[in-house]
Each structure stands twice: as structure tokens, then as C-alpha cells.
């Protein structure tokens, strides 16, 4: 029957999203339970989360503004993950990239804004790429585990950043808040428009994710990366330059994180200082894993995380809940998202079942052998 077949087709199409939906539902339930058990207004809290994330134009701006850097730092995890690496050092790449962008105008003569911004972007991306590339290089050269090395490099990067910003690169006029020299007004990146108060970093993030998607899904290089990530031996057997491909994925990922740093410096802070260390790299890891490293899903997950962050303020002001409430909701959401992944194996079986038309036996059909 047509109705049941379309229904089955619909169910089959929606099935991949089932774990996500279940995860969101279960984390909402757990969140409500957690608050209710303590006598806090749980249901209102959930409503406020929705309202603070997407409930008004301002809320939407708030959400998108906070999600902008997350798209780029998530790519820093997702691109190497394509090649089978787990890199968690995006924070280090971001801050060093931001620092590089902040000091580029000091090293170059006065240029037109577009040109200077381009140079700053390139400097930031190169620095970030080098930093993450170092992890990848150590892995290929000596088998050093990239998760641990990227984590250690991230800590080292933060220490280096602090030392440089408060030492040799410090602007003497930045007395009580050590920073690099503030950027000229011409080199600052503004918002997209007066009615849409989100800076251009959002556009860069979306474009980067789309480009990553095209690279990963629709290009030969991307396919080669996937082969490397899936089965290194097979890749070697068919003659793929595994070392170079892995290094490429790390360089691209690091460049994305470095670019995020550049936008933070030019669009938000105006110079490089300790406020750059804001945990964007760590949040990016979560976004990447939640999106299962799919570049387009990263956009959605980044917006989701940005929305949760944006709603935190309302929870504090309206209900007197502590700021940690947002952390709990995020923790619940991401643990649930990862847990419901376990369904994934079953999904394939269910999908097959749904795709097959139901067998209707005619009376007596079986007796005919």
C-alpha cells in the first residue's frame, strides 16, 4: 500500500537522526529530573534554555556569535579525524594563531585593510597549521600518539602565549591588562550588518565547514584521507602517500583553529591577551564528536552549543540558578549524544528492514512449495 510504503520510507530517512533525537530528549529529561529533585523550577529552566538560545532575534544573535569560533575549532578535530587521528590541541593553535595575527601589523608596513587582514589571516593559519602539524609529524615520524602530543603542545602553547604577551610582545601602554599593541581601527572586523550583530567570523566558519565538506566528501583528496583513516594498510597498499595525507589533514585542521584565533583578535578583542584563552578549543572537540566529524553537522552542533551557552545568562538572572547549570546541560547533552551512538549498529539493521517491502503471503501460497 502506498501510505505504508511512504511511511516506511520516511521512517528510513529519519532513522539516522534517531540517536540524536533520543539523546536530546533523554538529556532534557535528565536535566529536568536533576533540577526537580533539588526543588528548583525545572520546567521553567528548560523553557528559558529554549528562549535564551532561540527565543528572540537578540537570542539568535547571541547564539550565533558564540558558535562562530566553535565551527572552526571543531574542524581542527574533524579534519584529522577523517584521516584517523584524534587531535585535541585546538586551543593552543587558536591562541598562537591569534597572537600571530595580532603582531603581523607590527612586522609589516602600513597596508590597505583588506591586504593586511589577508596577511593576518595567513599568518594565523600558518601558525596554527604548524602547531598541529607538529603533532601529526611526530606521529608519522616516531609513532608518538597524537592525542597526547597535541594536548601537551596545547599546554605549551598557552604558556608560550602568556610569556610572550606579558613579555617581549607586550604593549607598554597596556598597563593592567597585558596585551599586544591594539590593532588599528581599520584592521578590525565588524559585524555583518547593523541589524545582524554577528561578526564575520560566523561566515568564515560556515564557509570553512562547507569547503571542508566538499573536500572530504566530494574530492579525491578527501576520499584518500578517508581511506587512510579507515585502513592504513590498504592505503599503503594502493600507494597513497599516507604520511603526506595525514600531515595535510593536520595542517588544515590547525589552519582552521588559527583562523578562529584571528577572528577572535580582530573582531572581538582588538589585541592578543589572556582573554583569548576562553576554552573554544575544548568546546570544539565536543562539537566535532557530537557531529560525528561531519562538516555540515558541525555547523548545527556549534549552533546548538552556542545556544546553550547563550541561555546561561537567563538561567542565572531569572531563576537564580548557578552558571554551572549550563555546564551540566552541556555535559548531559554530550554524554547522551555519545551514548546513543551505540544504537548506530542496530540502525543499519532497522533500515534494511524498513526498506524491504512487507511480505504479504496469499492464502495457500506456502503450500505450493
Amino acid at each position: 500500500m502506498n501510505a505504508s510504503r511512504t511511511l516506511r520510507r520516511l521512517a528510513g530517512a529519519l532513522l539516522p537522526g534517531l540517536p540524536t533525537l533520543l539523546a536530546v530528549l533523554s538529556s532534557c529529561v535528565l536535566f529536568v529530573l536533576f533540577l526537580a529533585v533539588q526543588g528548583k523550577p525545572a520546567w521553567q529552566a528548560l523553557q528559558l534554555v529554549g528562549e535564551g538560545a532561540f527565543g528572540s532575534w537578540f537570542a539568535l544573535e547571541n547564539t550565533l556569535q558564540r558558535s562562530a569560533p566553535l565551527m572552526l575549532t571543531a574542524l581542527c578535530v574533524a579534519l584529522p579525524a577523517r584521516a584517523g587521528l584524534i587531535i585535541i590541541g585546538g586551543e593552543g593553535a587558536l591562541v598562537l594563531g591569534g597572537l600571530a595575527a595580532a603582531v603581523t601589523p607590527l612586522a609589516l608596513p602600513h597596508l590597505a585593510p583588506w591586504l593586511m587582514l589577508g596577511c593576518m589571516g595567513i599568518a594565523a593559519m600558518l601558525t596554527g597549521a604548524l602547531w598541529i602539524g607538529l603533532s601529526g609529524w611526530m606521529r608519522q615520524r616516531r609513532g608518538v600518539n597524537e592525542t597526547i602530543s597535541s594536548l601537551l603542545l596545547s599546554y605549551i602553547a598557552l604558556a608560550l602565549f602568556r610569556q610572550l604577551v606579558e613579555g617581549p610582545l607586550r604593549d607598554p601602554a597596556s598597563l593592567n591588562k597585558p596585551s599586544t599593541r591594539p590593532l588599528d581601527d581599520a584592521y578590525l572586523i565588524g559585524t555583518i550588518s547593523d541589524s545582524f550583530e554577528v561578526h564575520w567570523g560566523l561566515v568564515a566558519g560556515v564557509i570553512a565547514c562547507v569547503l571542508a565538506y566538499v573536500l572530504v566528501r566530494h574530492s579525491v583528496k578527501g576520499f584518500a584521507l578517508a581511506v587512510v583513516g579507515g585502513n592504513v594498510r590498504a592505503a599503503l597498499m594502493i600507494g597513497l602517500p599516507v604520511d603526506r595525507l595525514i600531515l595535510l589533514s593536520c595542517l588544515l585542521g590547525g589552519a582552521a583553529a588559527g583562523l578562529a584565533g584571528m577572528f577572535e583578535v580582530t573582531a572581538v578583542q582588538g589585541s592578543a591577551n589572556a582573554a583569548l584563552i576562553a576554552g573554544y578549543g575544548t568546546s570544539g572537540i565536543l562539537v566535532a564528536f557530537a557531529a560525528r566529524h561531519h562538516p555540515l553537522a558541525i555547523i548545527a552542533c556549534a549552533v546548538l552549543l552556542g545556544g546553550l551557552e547563550a541561555s546561561g545568562g537567563l538561567l542565572q538572572r531569572r531563576l537564580g540558578l548557578p552558571d554551572a547549570t549550563t555546564l551540566i546541560l552541556e555535559g548531559l547533552l554530550f554524554t547522551n549524544l555519545l551514548l546513543w551512538e551505540a544504537l548506530g549498529g542496530r540502525l543499519a539493521a532497522w533500515r534494511l528492514k524498513l526498506a524491504q517491502p512487507p511480505v504479504t503471503l496469499e492464502k495457500g501460497a506456502l503450500q505450493h512449495g
Partner: protein, 306 residues
């Protein structure tokens, strides 16, 4: 520069390394156990913070610091169990889940801990090994917390246990080659869950040390990445419990040396001092790894080393 009394400096450094290194000891021993069974738990940072908060809270409310330690171990056990069970499910990435657990553990700790930032909890006792001395600084340097000795004993117990007992062998087999373990009738998943839970409990105790002894206070900035550092530490120590002990002291010294040097007047580049243990671990990893062999001594089933 003030008179640099070398003996005082060395003594202070030793005392500092024990003080700062004890949480590293517990967390790394716990992670060592977990990783030996073939699982990695990056969520230790969250478990550490949750343990610190719950230990402090229970100690405040009950008046007994040891009860607080017990509570911290319990909370750590539960969170470790969560990690263990979750990662036993198919397709759940243990590194990703560990990071999500950091968020959850930290969030719960901060949320429930708001009420405990102000009150003071009873502190854990320490052994006054330096009572023989008349110099206050010697006495306080040798004032070592009981938990440190517990940790040292634990390191030896783990070392002996992993080598010479049946459960130790089973654990190592599960971590090296799960198929053989299964062929022998062991249940790798169950063993890993238990190991992760116990690892979590130890991390919780490490957290309780932070809040109930040193620095001896609960606030939101208590941990500065010690949980994650412990993971690097375990690799630095090549999954050997006794090496974890020395490495913890080393990392503790690295944490204590900055202030100690400044106290005698040497104060420049203190950020770089803070980064020294990380750089050291990286250098050691680079120097000792070989392509193809990855990390010698690594459990075969560990997702890090495949």
C-alpha cells in the same frame, strides 16, 4: 637576592614535590590501572573536581575529613563506572566520552559546590615526621600527609599485584590481547569496567586531597589540568606503577620549583616553568618512541596506541 640557603631550598623543594605530587600520584595510579586494562579515561579531570567537591562537602557536613575522602572515592567510583559502562557500548569513542565526562563532572561539582565555597572543612591529618627538629621549616617540610603514604603503599601494591597475582595477570591480558583473555574464559568488558571504576575512585581520592589538605579549600579554580596531566604522566611512566610514583614526584617538583625559586629571588619566566613538565613529557615521548613500535610497554588494546 636573599641568602640562598641551599639546604633549605632543597628541603622546601622536596616538601613541595610531595605536596603537589600526591594528587598526581593517585590519579596516575588510577589511570594506570584503567589503561592497563585497555581503556583510556580522559574524564579524570572531571572526576578529580567532582571528588574534590564531594569530599569537601561531606567533610563539612559530617565533621570528618576521612568520611569526605570516602565520599570522594564513592563519587569517583560512580563516575568511573559510568565511563566504563558507556565505553563498553559499541561505537562509543572513549576519548570523546572522557571529554564529555569532564564537562559533566565539573558542572555537577561547581553546581553543587556553590554552597561550600565559604565554609571551612576539617583537614586531613598529616604525620609530623620532622618533630625531632627545632627549625620550623624542617618540621613543616617533613609534615607529610597520610594520603601520600597511602599512595606510596598503593604504588607498591599495584606493582606487585600486576606482576604476581592472578587478577594482575588477567588485567594485563585483557589489556594486551582481549581475544586471548576471552579464550581463557575472562570477560574483557567486565574487567575493564571494574578497572575504570577503581581508577575513578582513586582519582576521586586525589581530588579529595586537593580540597581537604592542599590547598585545603574548595573553589572553582582548584584544578589546573591535573587530571589530564595524569594521563600524560602515565604514558611518561610507561604504565609502570612505581615509575608513576617517581614521575608524580617529578611533576610535583616542577610545580613547586617556580614559587620556590621566586622565594629566593629568581623570578623570570614563571610561565615557562609551569610548562616545563609538559615539555619534558613531550621530549621523553619523542625520544623513546619508535615508529611501528609506538610506545614500548603499552597495553595492546589501548585505543591510543593502535
Amino acid at each position: 637576592m636573599a641568602d640562598i640557603d641551599l639546604s633549605t631550598f632543597v628541603l622546601a623543594l622536596l616538601a613541595g614535590s610531595i605536596r603537589v605530587g600526591t594528587p598526581f600520584l593517585f590519579v596516575s595510579l588510577g589511570e594506570c590501572l584503567t589503561e592497563k586494562s585497555g581503556r583510556i579515561n580522559l574524564g579524570l579531570e572531571g572526576i578529580l573536581v567532582a571528588g574534590a567537591m564531594s569530599g569537601y562537602a561531606v567533610a563539612c557536613m559530617s565533621g570528618s575529613a576521612w568520611l569526605g575522602v570516602g565520599a570522594a572515592a564513592g563519587v569517583g567510583l560512580l563516575l568511573g563506572l559510568l565511563h566504563g559502562v558507556a565505553c563498553s557500548l559499541p561505537r562509543v569513542n572513549d576519548i570523546a566520552f572522557g571529554i564529555a565526562l569532564i564537562l559533566l563532572g565539573t558542572g555537577l561539582a561547581f553546581f553543587l559546590g556553590k554552597a561550600f565555597i565559604q565554609p571551612q572543612a576539617p583537614m586531613l591529618p598529616s604525620l609530623a615526621l620532622g618533630a625531632w627538629s627545632t627549625a620550623e621549616r624542617v618540621r613543616s617540610a617533613l609534615n607529610i600527609n597520610v594520603l601520600f603514604f597511602v599512595g606510596v603503599a598503593l604504588a607498591f601494591v599495584l606493582h606487585w599485584g600486576l606482576r604476581s597475582t592472578r587478577w594482575g595477570l588477567m588485567l594485563r591480558l585483557v589489556g594486551d590481547h582481549a581475544e586471548s583473555a576471552q579464550a581463557l574464559g575472562y570477560r574483557p568488558l567486565r574487567v575493564r569496567i571494574v578497572a575504570t571504576a577503581i581508577g575513578g575512585a582513586l582519582a576521586g581520592i586525589g581530588g579529595a586531597y586537593l580540597s581537604l589538605y592542599y590547598p585545603g579549600s574548595w573553589n572553582e579554580g582548584l584544578s589546573s589540568g591535573q587530571g589530564l596531566m595524569a594521563v600524560a604522566l602515565v604514558i611518561f611512566a610507561r604504565w609502570r606503577p612505581l615509575a608513576c610514583l617517581w614521575a608524580s614526584l617529578l611533576f610535583g617538583a616542577a610545580g613547586a620549583i617556580g614559587p620556590a625559586l621566586q622565594a629566593v629571588g629568581i623570578s623570570s619566566g614563571y610561565y615557562l616553568f609551569a610548562a616545563a613538565p609538559y615539555a619534558l613529557t613531550l621530549v621523553v615521548m619523542y625520544a623513546t618512541c619508535r615508529r611501528g613500535r609506538t610506545l614500548g610497554g603499552a597495553p595492546g588494546e589501548l585505543s591510543l596506541t593502535r
